[in-house]
Assembly symmetry: C2
Homo-oligomer: 346 residues x 2
């Protein structure tokens, strides 16, 4: 026995640091630091935007930094349309709404003569909102037709089925392939540094939940979006939740920080957007006590994507002025992004 | 060099499994299984309730079980008052409200003659609601006085400061020491098995957030509760969120499953409550497709805690009938719990 014990000592001594390393948080940090050192954000050019992102992440994650933030407090909030994926010529949820209304039309012969449905059903493409739909109320009616009266689970399934076959009206590509590769890398980089990532967007919450986990790795409970009020009832001993015909929340502008406070209850230390609708979220983030990162995606690339800002359906005007005045980070798509979309799958 | 290489082989061979073990998920599972095997739920007697909990967790976490649930889908929802901590003689938030109104009284001389404040200020103990407060509207007015017009962050700080010095009017103990030890062990057990735990409770969301992380290990974004509407504004270049005087949501009864769907977007596979107000949450959980656990805490212990059910401020009546009819798990405090409260700190 004694002999065996003696032989085993060097093995234990060698194995010990590995074992300790595997059982505490140091290991995660080492892995993260390695990730940073090798190929962080490969689709970002080595311009000030990328440097600002990395400097911020190092600032809040280095244990000896005066701006160190505990992992549980590393909340990052992202707008979706125009920030994580494209939004031209229309926000992609509109393509769903148009397709869905066309699919439901046979059950609604009255739509042939009733606006806003009639113009929509006559239209032969999906790349513009029919001129007859000129108010939010009319758009709201279209949203309700696709979403009210069914359960959130049914609605999510309809969206999930649709999004696997839907194609962009201009590029012909699957919509989920029109996510921004640099932003996917940013999500991964933040996650590797123990950030908890939320989407906070004007799109329907359940529309985004239908693809956010598969597309971005963002679970349903980390998606905040617009929603309808719901109703609970027992139906033959089975609990059923149904979307009503009444809007509950439209998560744009000032509603973004309010939803963040309500649902998350912690102030983000990093926020990402692309329009004036994201400005209150940026302002809320920037008004926190410690270090913060406010990053605006600026659509400047008419060749690889689209170029638009101050004049658009969802303008980036006051936000652009404030970002420049405050020195927030602006990701200029044309100069800061090496690639826009992920490489195509063969 | 050759000699060194030869000597190092046995070390590498021995260290390898440890290293592999530390770098993939198997390690977590092994740790969990070890936890289960040793002292899972030590404050629970070895009665059917404990067996049902363990059987359920094994059913949904064993990789070869037909009822296996992916870790990301292991959502568990807990009521707070009467489920995670005591709620007698009154829900503990009421003690806060009474103390807060007394603290604010010098700034409100008009309260001396204005109900419901006058009776409350005359009262010499905290263990009963003054008879003059006999409607939800009057109670609502008291809640607003403590919460409206300040920021959620200020309110949380006031609660956090108060709860460190508040004492229970009957036991004289700190309120956060009147959490249920068996339920703390249950939270740990579920977390060790990759469950994501939410509080879903009628108490004010920000009241619970002020202590839930320290007391239960539940982070703010996993606390769902009643709330006021909020307002966002810029004040001298600083973003400010303020609680208004309007209620936004009261998270009791049917509002519980609706809030779960809205905030989490996944159906819980395990729910825990103690009153009829938790019944819709149980029904929603039980109506899911796969395996589920619905557990009711039944207050049957007049010696160590309190005994109440069908007749109380927050009755456990329809819920008790349905739990018995459906064969849900009932944790009988008197017979199933070895201890009620955590051991006192010296």
């Amino acid at each position: 026995m004694k002999k065996i014990t003696r032989w085993i000592y060097p093995y234990i001594l060698l194995a010990l640091p590995l074992f300790i390393c595997s059982c505490n948080e140091t290991n995660n940090h080492s892995k993260n630091e390695a990730a940073v050192a090798t190929d962080t954000l490969p689709s970002w050019n080595n311009t000030p935007a990328k440097k600002a992102i990395i400097a911020f992440v190092e600032q809040v994650t280095s244990a000896n930094s005066p701006d160190f933030v505990l992992p549980a407090e590393r909340i990052a909030t992202f707008d979706n349309d125009g920030t994580l994926w494209a939004e031209q010529p229309l926000a992609f949820q509109l393509f769903f709404i148009f397709d869905r209304i066309k699919a439901l039309a046979p059950q609604h012969p009255e739509w042939k003569t009733k606006e806003p449905f009639a113009s929509l059903l006559r239209g032969d493409n999906n790349s513009a909102i029919p001129a007859s739909i000129n108010s939010f109320a009319e758009m709201g009616e279209l949203i309700l037709v696709t979403q009210a009266g069914i359960s959130p689970e049914e609605y999510e399934q309809i969206v999930a089925d649709w999004i696997t076959i839907a194609r962009h009206p201009v590029t012909g590509k699957p919509l989920t392939s029109m996510v921004y590769q640099p932003m996917l890398e940013l999500l991964d980089y933040l996650r590797a540094n123990d950030f908890k990532i939320y989407i906070v967007s004007g799109g329907s919450c359940d529309f985004m939940r239908a693809f956010a986990e598969k597309t971005y790795g963002i679970v349903p409970e980390q998606v905040i979006g617009s929603s309808l009020k719901t109703r609970f009832e027992m139906n033959n001993e089975r609990a059923v939740i149904t979307n009503t015909e009444e809007f509950s929340a439209i998560i744009t502008g000032k509603a973004k920080p309010l939803a963040i406070q309500s649902v998350i209850g912690r102030r983000p230390i990093a926020s990402f957007g692309n329009s004036d609708n994201d400005l209150p979220m940026m302002q809320w983030t920037a008004s926190g006590k410690g270090a913060h990162l406010c990053l605006y995606v600026h659509h400047t690339d008419s060749v690889r994507e689209y170029a638009y800002d101050r004049v658009s359906a969802d303008p980036f005007d006051k936000g652009l002025d404030e970002a420049m005045a405050k020195g927030w980070t602006i990701a200029d798509m044309k100069t800061d992004w090496k690639t826009v979309y992920p490489p195509e799958k063969k």
